[in-house]
Amino acid sequence: MDRSTAAIDVRGLNHWFGTGEARKQALFDIDLSIERGRLTVLLGASGSGKTTLLTLMGCLREVQDGSVRLLGQELAGAREELLVACRRRLGFIFQAHNLHDSLTAMQNVRMGLGVHGSAAADWREPCEHLLRLVGLGERLDYLPGNLSGGQKQRVAVARALVGNPEVVFADEPTAALDRDSGLQVVRMLKALGEARGTTTLMVTHDPRILDLADRIVTLEDGRLVGEGR
């Protein structure tokens, strides 16, 4: 695949945690290219390095060794400002929804938009639109405390997508949900991604979600071992 057209291109990536005696390698010589506009699922046993890889590709961790090109931008050795600028083109969905408990659904989604410096007047429309898309049109002004787990995670999805991110990173976004609402959230993510041409990278263990993946990448003890699909 052509390095420059891939959404993410990883070459010879190694990563270590700790120092001295406790120093431990978590990733070994990873080569991986992620095409634009597709849903890629990252599989692997606990401790195999999925989250580490995801945070490296998502500008949340400094690249120690090797190369990560995100949307054409080399992250190895990049300055903090550049990383922050890169993050603004991304969307993150965490295992926990991490919603602000004192902000309504609308206000939480707006936080995903505020960072793009959009004028005060035009935030309402896209936020409302996204909350309707994730089926929360009737819950716009609810506080997270008054929403179910699935609804909260859907607010988090709306928050991640409202800024029209080019790449969405999701780490076990359905782990805290029952099977049905989990599936619903991922279906929505996939549909929205397809409609907008968003690249989605997701860590999950849920076998039913695997059916929705365009591509499956498997990690084992910090090494890429296999490709599905």
Partner: protein, 391 residues
């Protein structure tokens, strides 16, 4: 409120929303800031009352310049002056009049057995030593032996008592084996060192305090010729009077020295100053507690915002927004309660305690600063919000 703040800040007022979301914590924080404000305002009030009550008797004097003993710190202390200083002062050109002022302390035993302490001034009944109307009006009465005038503001004495004297019903009481007749009232008010002021003639004063050398006053009250140059006369006086026992000052200078001494050298002044420091500390600690708990509780959310691409500056903004709101919300009830307490203290103690316009401004600025400092310390925890730890 949210809409207003949103307009002011140009962003979602997250700090405000966070504060109102946790009502219990907000109430505790407001109470803490208000408490600190009340503490500081009360201490400033007492300090102000002390300073004001030091000024009042000086202000009542009909004086352009004051000669006092060189070792004098307050109106009430210092060695008596040789009477010859009065004659020497009068010999200086530009001095129109010089009158002696004697000072002493007297116990006034009440019918119920309690004792009020009175500051006693002995004056020459032939000369206007004070300008206070009641003293001037009653001055002629002082020609008679053992007659006194009393301050209406004397602590713990009902107004009706003074009204009776003012109507011409003299009050008699025993002191130092003599029967004093209180025949008139005036109003100086205040006083930390005693409960009120009593004015008698210099003759009566010497009968009350026989151990005092005849004609050795504590202070000499000087009046200038209207045409005289005050600084020239002051300089001439300093030339004439020996510096080892006499000190020549304007009334304002004497007040300033007395106030500086009592607020920095006397326990009362120091206690009030210490109280202000305690108040500020209490405020800083409470606000810091509230803000840092709030930051700690929202670390995951802040980390999420960081992952989304918000900068550290934005979080500092949230914390300072909270600090500023707490300062304002605590200040309002703090000032209102302090005003009520001022009125109560003034009514109960007769101290001249009053809110000056500058004081709330000072306290509000101090509160904002205090909350800002607490906020700044609290934001150090923000550094721990690491988005990489979220996944």
């Amino acid at each position: 409120m949210t809409a207003l703040l949103e307009r002011l800040l140009g962003r979602l007022p997250i700090g405000w929303l966070q504060l109102v979301h946790n009502r219990g914590r907000l109430a505790a924080a407001i109470a803490g800031v208000a408490f600190a404000n009340i503490l500081v305002l009360m201490q400033l009030g007492f300090l102000g009352a002390l300073v004001e009550s030091i000024r009042l008797p000086y202000a009542a004097m009909n004086a352009d310049l004051l000669v006092s003993a060189a070792d004098m710190n307050t109106l009430a202390d210092g060695s008596p002056l040789p009477r010859s200083r009065m004659v020497e002062a009068l010999s200086v050109p530009g001095i129109a009049a010089a009158t002696p002022l004697h000072y002493g302390k007297l116990d006034w035993r009440q019918p119920d057995g309690t004792i009020r302490t009175l500051d006693v001034f002995g004056v020459d009944p032939a000369a206007p030593t004070f300008r206070t109307p009641g003293i001037e009006a009653g001055r002629a009465l002082l020609q008679n032996a053992d007659v006194a005038l009393i301050d209406r503001g004397t602590r713990n004495v009902p107004a009706a008592f003074f009204d009776g004297i003012a109507r011409g019903e003299p009050y008699r009481f025993e002191a130092k084996g003599r029967t004093l007749t209180v025949a008139g009232v005036f109003s100086i008010r205040g006083g930390f060192s005693a409960d009120g002021y009593l004015i008698v003639s210099d003759q009566t004063f010497l009968r009350l305090f026989p151990q005092r050398a005849a004609g050795a006053p504590n202070h000499i009250v000087l009046r200038l010729d209207p045409a005289a140059d005050r600084s020239a006369v002051t300089a001439a006086l300093r030339e004439t009077l020996p510096a080892y026992d006499s000190i020549v000052r304007t009334v304002d200078d004497a007040v300033a020295k007395d106030q500086a001494f009592q607020t920095t050298q006397r326990p009362v002044g120091i206690v009030f100053g210490f109280g202000i420091v305690i108040g500020i500390l209490v405020g800083v600690i409470i606000v810091y507690q509230v803000l840092s708990t709030d930051v700690a509780d929202h670390l995951r959310e802040y980390a999420t915002f960081k992952a989304i691409g918000y900068r550290q500056l934005c979080f500092l903004g949230i914390v300072f927004e909270e600090a500023f709101i707490l300062a304002l919300l605590g200040f309002v009830p703090g000032v209102l309660i302090a005003l009520g307490l001022y009125a109560a203290v003034a009514a109960v103690t007769g101290l001249p305690i009053a809110m000056t316009p500058a004081r709330p401004v000072l306290v509000l600025s101090g509160t904002i600063l205090m909350c800002g400092v607490s906020g700044a310390i609290a934001t150090r925890r923000l550094a721990r919000a690491d988005p990489a730890e979220l996944f």
